[in-house]
């Protein structure tokens, strides 16, 4: 890849606008990027694709100075730069445009565009607002967006207009920094956009590309292929392929992005059992406006049902609704033969026998409390539970679960925050087993834990299933879905596209699943 840059210079052309050379980064000993290289020329759009967790965001953050690489370097215009902060990156003309736009809704367009750069328009510490407004208005005209009023508040504009403002902001700040062509990192720019807005964004990129260089990250492969000149594929933190975008088939990209070998032992597939006939969770015609529509499925006692789909497919919202934590859903939910009340609440659903693990562990653990107190919390909310605490019982139960689930802790009275992520997660599973949950809704239960802890959690999940608890496993990790589930539901844009059987001896492949997700 570096060869491209070198040969370019040999031909007397400019060096690449941005060059990433063998960048590595690891978190807590786990590599997130290993020796990743990439180059980008002026006027070029490159597509960066990869699974969730492949390292795309880490790479972008490294380029934009938000993360410092452990080794390797970043060069702008052939000159190696040391980026200690996002402000440093800005000065070099690098701008990260996030999926949740980083504009302050209550400020005006011009205030947003030049936020933290007012000094260039100040005299004796007094901001010359007229100069700010003029500068921004001129840029808007220059890019053909006169219809955007620089003095209006950002909150009065829709999402796609805000995206235009973000992109103009990159040009404005680049110009201030004396950089002619900015590098723009677009992170999932279309995730929240409608079809028309996507079209609009594509045109915007086409019209500005000659004056910039763009790294485009998206799960929507067709979009990436259409807009990019070249494609880079990241997998497990390594750059495994680079190719011209023209004529690449989506299928081919899928294969490159996934294509790992699954270790049956890791997922304890030999422990997978045929579930009982009795359903512990039956969902019928469940809809929630803006989240998902007409979802129907059942989970039987002892069964693990996987739910796969991209971010925004509605799978996480589905989990939250089943936990009673999201209002406004319609349809019927039956738990162990008993219909859930029409008005869902966490209290009602946990009384009915549903336990929920949120995707972010911070929404699960109460850091200053002990392992014991964290574990008993859900049980204490049960109706009819005494006003007085039975501390002896709490301790007995905590010890029992620490033993059976193999929770590694200094003691049951240790603060839960002193436990590793995987062990915290086991405490949370125990919490719902103590509440006598009949069905567990798990949203990415191995999020952010390392391979060893994952294996541990998988063992615990098999153990729980063997006791007749039904598990709905929502996950972004394809191998985990395939390895653990008896069946897998694939969701896309709020509907269940397909149900894929996954018996122990005949597991589906990743490509097969991905094909229905995107």
């Amino acid at each position: 890849m570096i060869g491209v840059g070198v040969s370019g210079m040999a031909r007397g052309e400019q060096p690449p606008l941005l060059e990433v050379r063998a960048v590595s980064k690891s978190f807590g000993g786990i590599p997130a990027l290993s020796s990743v290289s990439l180059s980008l020329r002026k006027g070029e759009v490159i597509g960066l694709v990869g699974e969730n967790g492949a390292g795309k965001s880490t790479l972008l953050k490294t380029i934009s100075g938000n993360l410092r690489p452990d080794s390797g370097s970043v060069a702008v215009n052939g000159k190696q730069v040391s980026l200690r902060s996002y402000a440093d990156a800005n000065r070099e003309g690098i701008f990260h445009i996030y999926q949740d736009l980083a504009l302050i809704p209550t400020l005006t367009v011009y205030e947003n565009v030049l936020l933290a750069h007012e000094n260039s328009f100040s005299r004796f510490g007094v901001i010359d607002n007229r100069a700010l407004r003029k500068y921004v208005t001129e840029l808007l005209v220059e890019f053909g967006h006169e219809r955007i009023d620089a003095s209006r508040k950002v909150e009065t504009y829709d999402l796609s207009t805000r995206q235009v403002i973000e992109i103009i902001k990159s040009f404005a700040l680049a110009k201030l920094a004396g950089v002619e062509s900015p590098v723009m990192l677009l992170d999932e720019p279309t995730a929240a956009l409608t079809g028309d807005e996507v079209e609009f964004l594509m045109r915007l990129i086409q019209s500005t590309r000659q004056r910039a260089a763009i790294i485009y990250v998206s799960h929507r492969l067709s979009e990436v292929i259409e807009i990019s000149d070249r494609l880079y594929v990241l997998k497990d933190g390594a750059m495994i392929a680079e190719m011209p975008a023209a004529g690449v088939a989506e299928n081919r990209l899928h294969e490159l992005m996934v294509g790992r070998t699954r270790d049956e032992f890791f997922y304890r597939e030999h422990e997978q059992r045929e579930p009982a006939e009795k359903a512990v969770l039956e969902v019928s015609g469940l809809s929630r406006p803006g989240s998902f529509e007409d979802v129907t499925f059942r989970v039987r006692a002892g069964e693990i049902v996987g739910v796969g789909g991209l971010v925004g497919s509605g799978k996480s919202d589905l989990a939250k609704v089943l936990a009673g934590a999201l209002p406004d859903a319609s349809g019927t939910i039956t738990i162990d033969g008993v219909a859930a009340p029409r008005k869902l609440s966490v209290q009602a659903m946990s009384d009915a026998g549903v336990g929920y693990l949120p995707p972010d562990r911070r929404d699960g653990v109460i850091p200053p409390l002990s392992v014991t107190s964290n574990m008993s919390l859900a049980r204490l909310t049960r109706r009819g539970e005494a006003v007085w605490l039975d501390l002896a019982r709490e301790k007995r139960e905590a010890r029992e679960f620490v033993d059976t689930l193999g929770i590694k802790t200094a003691g049951i009275e240790a603060q839960i925050s002193t436990l590793s992520g995987g062990n915290q997660q086991k405490v949370l599973l125990a919490r719902w087993l103590l509440r006598q949950a009949k069905v567990l809704i798990l949203d990415n239960p191995t999020n952010g834990v390392d391979a060893g802890a994952k294996e541990d959690i998988y063992g615990v999940l098999r153990q729980i299933a063997a006791k007749g608890v039904g598990i709905l496993l929502v996950s972004d990790d394809l191998l985990e879905l395939i390895g653990l589930s008896n069946r897998i539901l694939i969701m896309r844009a709020g509907t269940v596209m397909r149900e894929v059987p996954a018996p122990a001896k005949n597991k589906p492949g990743e490509v097969e699943l991905v094909a229905d997700m995107v």
């Binding site: 807590g28 000993g29 786990i30 070998t261 270790d263 890791f266 936990a323 934590a325 966490v346 209290q347 946990s350 009384d351 929920y356 949120p358 911070r362 929404d363 699960g364 653990v365 109460i366 850091p367 200053p368 409390l369 107190s373 008993s376 919390l377 859900a378 204490l380 909310t381 539970e385 005494a386 006003v387 007085w388 605490l389 501390l391 590694k408 200094a410 603060q415 925050s417 002193t418 436990l419 590793s420 995987g422 919490r431 834990v449 390392d450 391979a451 060893g452 802890a453 294996e455 541990d456």
Partner: protein, 333 residues
């Protein structure tokens, strides 16, 4: 997939370095107050020989009694990560109500006082827990409203008490030389500690302070328990108001107002951070002792009363600096 075992080993070694740091933080918060207490006792004993005497010890207990009761109520609110700024004005309200009830209806009417303060606290509690207004502003508003109401009803005048009250001796009497009011305060403290540690209410309050979202996702009726905490605070400010009234022998419409800062300071200095979730009533006892001894010792050492406030204020800031869990600072902004 071959790195499972090494990754597991890594995980183990990685979780270890975390522990000393959290322990170090714990110890700073746990040992700090005791250290402050010991240093103060030594310094004040050296400054004035009358400090370290039985007579002064009884003095300190008597002075601490009102503050203990008030601060214990505030502790439950602060444990949730919220704050009750109205406790001082509630004491004034309680003292005024108590004095007027005794004057007009006989001394046993005083039992109505905690009910009155609970009712007022319920207003703040409902606004905070159900209308979801921030506790800081809700109780700041209540502080002014309660103040104004107390001044309006009394027309700003003090209410005096007859000297031959039966309940007066209950609070001012002595048992084995110990002031009865101190024994009452100790009794209330024991109940508060029990409630915090051994009841579902106590546990839920800790859970709300430690992670409100988590508590919600566990099915804890968060709003209801927030209201309960305010009711407890209201009840105890009522009791504290009665105590203060009996100590002074009457009521002044602003007599409780200066107690706001010491009450909150006692909670924080004891080791319950404003972010909530850790600490508790047992720590507040320690905080009250620190503040009372600080005030008593400075009086005996003839420190200018205005400078005493400077020292107290600095002490509060120091305690917050030691106790604040900076990772969670966004809770209080």
């Amino acid at each position: 997939m071959t790195q499972h075992t090494s990754a597991a080993a890594l995980n183990r070694s990685r979780s270890n370095p975390q522990q000393p740091s959290s322990r170090a933080w714990l110890s700073a918060a746990a040992v700090g107050p005791w250290l402050a207490l010991i240093v103060m006792i030594i310094v004040f004993s050296l400054l004035n020989p009358r400090f370290f005497t039985i007579g002064n010890g009884i003095n300190i207990l008597q002075q601490a009694a009102v503050l203990v009761v008030l601060a214990l109520g505030g502790t439950f609110v602060i444990l949730m990560g919220s704050i009750d700024l109205s406790v001082g004005s509630m004491v004034s309200l309680a003292g005024m109500s108590a004095a007027m009830l005794i004057r007009d209806h006989g001394e046993w009417a005083v039992v109505l006082v905690p009910l009155i303060t609970m009712f007022v606290a319920a207003i703040a509690g409902v606004l905070f827990a159900y209308a979801k207004l921030p506790s800081f502003l809700t109780t700041l508003g209540m502080l002014y409203a309660i103040n104004g109401m107390t001044l309006y009803v009394t027309q700003g005048a003090a209410v005096n008490l007859p000297t031959d009250l039966v309940i007066g001796s209950i609070f001012n009497g002595r048992l084995f030389g110990i002031p009865a009011v101190a024994l009452w305060a100790i009794g209330i403290a024991i109940v508060a500690i029990f409630v915090a540690r051994r009841t579902r209410f106590g546990r839920f309050i800790y859970a709300i302070g430690g992670g409100e979202t988590v508590a919600k996702l566990c099915g804890v009726p968060v709003a209801r328990y927030k209201l309960y905490a305010f009711l407890v605070s209201g009840f105890l400010s009522g009791v504290a108001g009665i105590f203060l009234m009996l100590r002074i022998g009457g009521s002044d419409p602003t007599m409780g107002d200066p107690m706001l800062l010491p009450a909150i300071a006692a909670v924080v200095m004891g080791g319950t951070p404003l972010t909530g979730g850790i600490g508790g009533p047992h720590r507040t006892l320690l905080g009250v002792l620190i503040i009372t001894i600080l005030q008593n010792g400075m009086n005996l050492a003839n420190v200018n009363p205005f400078l005493q406030n400077v020292v107290l204020g600095a002490g509060v800031i120091a305690a917050v600096a030691v106790n604040m869990d900076r990772k969670r600072l966004f809770f209080v902004k």
